[in-house]
Symmetry: C2
Subunit: 337 residues, 2 copies
């Protein structure tokens, strides 16, 4: 590992992403990336009795598929890094409780997928692990009742509101194998908390945009690279409004966000035909777009050089009621084909 600039880390040996799986719900399947999501359920309960158990079920599904693929090598999986949006991260805790795997529970809100990948890469590049799992999930129904209102209320949603993605993504990360042809993590840039004073929990994209700006700017400065060097610079779940704010903020830094800038929350739903307002959100948003679309496209060679910046809003319903603003965070992963 080599530290570059103020806080970017170039891995000594790129970490291979040797397996990736995504699962989504019905409306994600109906969205623009639907054809990439081969694993989905029409039933929002995923065969379980509650939305929370459904969330764990999704994680179990993608984890089992990844574990199945991991059997191609006899090496054990050293660590699992996982977390989710549910209070006390029960989505993750219950999905892996029967597996007897050494586990690190994370909470990074919707930035959790990038946080998990970052820590898995640090464990692997630092020599502590040969193979690690990074996983997260979110569920529209469990998130609505936990963060906003029970669905039965039929609450009106303002235009800035985002739609929590029902889905889960899981990656297997391994020490680099020459010629394996897998996408590789080459650099990581962990995020710092950034609070712009925004307190509207129906406008999370705005609250997270400055955190994304902070991390993207840091990474570009540290690596002395420019946006044109990448095929795709994709944030996690800023949505339409947050993405516009990010573009404006970057312009003030003299960073021109061109057509290679996108956002998983914008990509996963169709703004015109799906009633999802400012776009997708939730840990599962960036995780499923990464595992279901971006990484498979990198394997095909369509995308070669990607910056993945998952963004998280670190408030709670209690902090919002106590008039606190919403702190944001964004962790960046540089992936090359």
């Amino acid at each position: 590992m080599k530290k570059i600039g103020s806080g970017t880390y170039r891995l000594a040996n790129p970490v291979d992403i040797t397996a990736q799986e995504a699962i989504v719900g019905k409306i994600e399947k109906e969205g623009p990336l639907g054809k990439y999501f081969t694993n989905y359920s029409e039933d929002e309960y995923f065969g379980e009795e509650t939305f929370e158990k459904a969330e764990s079920r999704m994680q179990k599904e993608v984890l089992n598929r990844v574990l199945e693929q991991s059997k191609a090598s006899p090496k054990p999986i050293d660590f699992v890094f996982a977390g989710d949006l549910l209070n006390q991260c029960i989505g993750s805790n219950y999905s892996i409780r029967d597996l007897n795997m050494q586990f690190f529970g994370l909470y990074g809100a919707c930035s959790t997928m990038a946080e998990a990948i970052t820590l898995a890469c640090m464990a692997i590049d630092g020599g502590f692990a040969e193979r690690s799992i990074a996983m997260t999930s979110s569920h529209f129904c469990s998130a609505e009742r936990q963060f906003r209102f029970p669905l039965e209320y039929g609450s009106q949603r303002p235009p800035a509101a985002q739609w929590t993605v029902t889905g889960s993504g899981c990656l297997l990360l391994e020490t680099g194998k020459v010629g394996s042809g897998c996408p590789k993590v080459t650099e990581i840039c962990p995020g710092a908390i950034c609070d712009m004073g925004i307190s509207d929990q129906n406008n999370m994209g705005a609250a997270m945009a400055a955190a994304a700006e902070l991390t993207i700017k840091r990474f570009l400065d540290d690596t002395k690279s420019s946006p044109e060097d990448y095929d795709l610079i994709v944030t996690g779940d800023l949505g339409h409004i947050g993405h516009s704010i990010l573009v404006e903020l970057l312009a003030k830094d003299n960073i021109q966000a061109g057509s290679n800038f996108d956002d998983c929350g914008k990509m996963i739903f169709d703004k015109n035909s799906q009633d999802t307002h400012s776009g997708g959100s939730g840990c599962g948003c960036s995780a499923t777009v990464l595992a279901g679309y971006i990484l498979p496209e990198m394997k095909k060679g369509t995308l070669k050089n990607v910056l993945f910046i998952a963004t998280g809003a670190l408030m709670s319903p209690v902090s919002t009621l106590q008039n606190e603003s919403i702190p944001g965070i964004a962790h960046l992963i540089h992936i090359t084909a």
Copy 2:
């Protein structure tokens, strides 16, 4: 780093704990370790308006004290690893939001202090960081209303219930400096989830005991050491009942838990004079006992060789209502003077 056995990691260079700070509330100050807790508040709000903000305030206090000591060296602090019991970990998110430090949010329930130390050591030993912070907190009043009932109800507590410690602990971990005289982390053994089917959320110690057994047995097997090799083998917050169960479980493994076995939850309150039932619990329990008592005693030379095993119960009030059992986890840190 050298992996030993099934999952213990011996650091290539022991990581120094160069600063540690604890803060506690009134009844912790009145307990058996009171004379060690020089930093405390009679006011359960710690000067803030709500219990949640009080929890963040405690973290800010210990963090600022550690940062003050860190100025002895001009090196920057690379990462903060922190988490707490509050939904969405707002205790930690709000305590560090103004510091512009690269941050990893964790959720390991009451095992969070050991999880944070483990990941900080991995980051340092793996070459990603020279200095990192590990921090956590809990607050009796915020935990009661979040996990059980608002205090205003005056609910009766069963004998197996534990008393969430009001307190916060913070450590500064650094790459080893020869002759610095600080306690050093030499080995780590991350935990796996263990679920014994216990579903009584007023008996957390019982739910976590098997996780502690699993990790302690793994570590002793991996290192081919025996309990007599250590001055103190201290679990996080099993309390009186959980500790007795752990002793029984270890006896079945032919591990005799002698007088060097103890538990932070047993140590922090006086069973006879303080109405705390089965003992202390919460992330702040093991964090304050470690930072306030164990590490200072190691600096004095009273304790030389310590296994610190923080234990976490990974359920939520929602999972309990949905008839789920309580998964436990325990991460082990080997510290030598």
